[in-house]
């Protein structure tokens, strides 16, 4: 009995002691996960087919210009670059030429050729590329005005057989450039930024197109190579006896928006 009383006293003392030192502390935890998925959104307004029909002598000589045929609008959550790539089925095979769909006439003249370089197509963008510090080519963008005295290659489209490979520092970009330090920051044409919004911002570009066949049709504005140089294309550089075979030709321009 004596032992029982002693044991009970010890237990009571322990309980009393722990109660005196007890501290209120309770907690609950919440885990917050944030998934920031990269979004690059390019809207293209305007017809997907831009037709140039040369059926007047004046059009051969003076060319045809399609003003504002394409409007590009960018919304991006990451820094981005935008470029145009002239492409065709021939280009995918390594020849930077238009695809000839139909030949008009007897096609008997050996000087009439269907090897039209992609670079005969010229582009003009409505506002200057604001981020080209790392560009090394003669022309960093397509902002040079369309006029009769524009230097050769100033507006020739960048032609390539690899349209999804970012162009080199020597080529033209519409916005941003090859260097990682040349980019447009994430944003949208829908949001006021730098005092501009909509078509006035760096997130919207209006593109003009021009083709000047010349007479004879040697396409004097075409350049050799990918487009950003001042050397004339083979059609009129090697001999003046070659000219374009009348017919239907097609190519396409890919506007590529990429993360910087």
């Amino acid at each position: 009995m004596k032992k029982f009383i002693l044991s009970a006293s010890v237990v009571a003392a322990m309980l009393a002691g722990t109660n005196a030192k007890a501290q209120l502390l309770d907690e609950q935890n919440v885990t917050v996960t944030m998934d920031l998925q990269p979004i690059l959104q390019l809207n293209m307004n305007g017809s997907q087919n831009v037709d140039f029909v040369f059926d007047q002598i004046s059009e051969y000589v003076g060319g045809i210009t399609q003003y504002g045929a394409t409007n590009l609008q960018v919304s991006s959550t990451v820094s981005w670059d935008l470029y145009a790539a002239g492409f065709s089925s021939n280009a995918s095979g390594g020849s930077l030429l238009w695809d000839n769909q139909v030949e008009y006439g007897a096609s008997a003249d050996p000087n009439a050729v269907t090897t039209l370089p992609l670079t005969l197509l010229e582009l003009h963008q409505d506002k200057i590329n604001s981020s080209v510090a790392g560009a090394t080519g003669t022309y960093a963008d397509y902002f040079q005005a369309f006029n009769s005295t524009a230097p050769l290659g100033s507006n020739a489209v960048y032609a390539t057989s690899a349209p999804y490979t970012k162009p080199a520092a020597t080529e033209k970009f519409i916005a941003g450039h090859n260097a990682t330090s040349d980019f447009i920051a994430g944003g949208s044409y829908l949001i006021l930024g730098g005092g501009f919004v909509g078509n006035g911002s760096n997130y919207s570009y209006t593109m003009d197109y021009r083709i000047i066949p010349g007479l004879p049709a040697v396409f004097p504005r075409a350049t050799s190579g990918s487009g950003n140089n001042t050397t004339s294309a083979a059609l009129n550089a090697t001999t003046t006896t070659l000219y374009a075979q009348p017919g239907v030709y097609t190519m396409n321009v890919k506007y590529v928006l990429v993360e910087n």
Partner: protein
Amino acid sequence: MKIGAVGAEGQPVSIGVNAVTGSAACVISASTECDANPANSALVMNTTTNKEFIFDSFSKYNGGLTINGSTILKVKVADNPLSGGVCKWKLQMAVSNGTSPDDTEWETLFSYGSGSSGSKPTLDILQARIDNGCHTPQNAGVYISPFTTSLSPGNTVDIINTAFLTINPGAGAACSGGETNGVGTYLGLDYSEYSFVIDYRIVPGFDYLPGRYEISIKFCLTED
């Protein structure tokens, strides 16, 4: 570090408090005026413990995402029957960013894309709005960025404490005032003073690296 407390009925209460770099911990008061028995005093949360913000459209990046009422906390606090003092409690929140080497950024689980656009998101982009029926919390009903400073042990944000008491007896029968951080329970007549609804909002904008990020928020009920 493990802190063990023993309740009045001898039930062990084991609370893990992470005191490593990148975590803020609950601050334990030396006072023992409140009953530590979890049957009598507790912080109850029956809502889900995972909140997921998925930004997969431009409008979500620009306008943000809000999760309303996703955390509901309920408090019950009793006097320590062995103490003659007055029990006062406080409710705090703290943040942890796991293994992040920077104590101002979210923990990166993985990154998307080239990883060259922008910086890692900072803790202050999380906004919280804490309120109850009696509007007793600090900044009640207003979105705030609670975690605006670097993490360090003990760097917590007070929701309820003695130094800041809002007594709003005119707000309804369940808001008699006086019990804002005193003894009481969400099961009693003044239930509004012991319940807290927390809304979360994130507006990331376009400055941050795409990726999956995580933080942990700790809500602490301690004596004041």
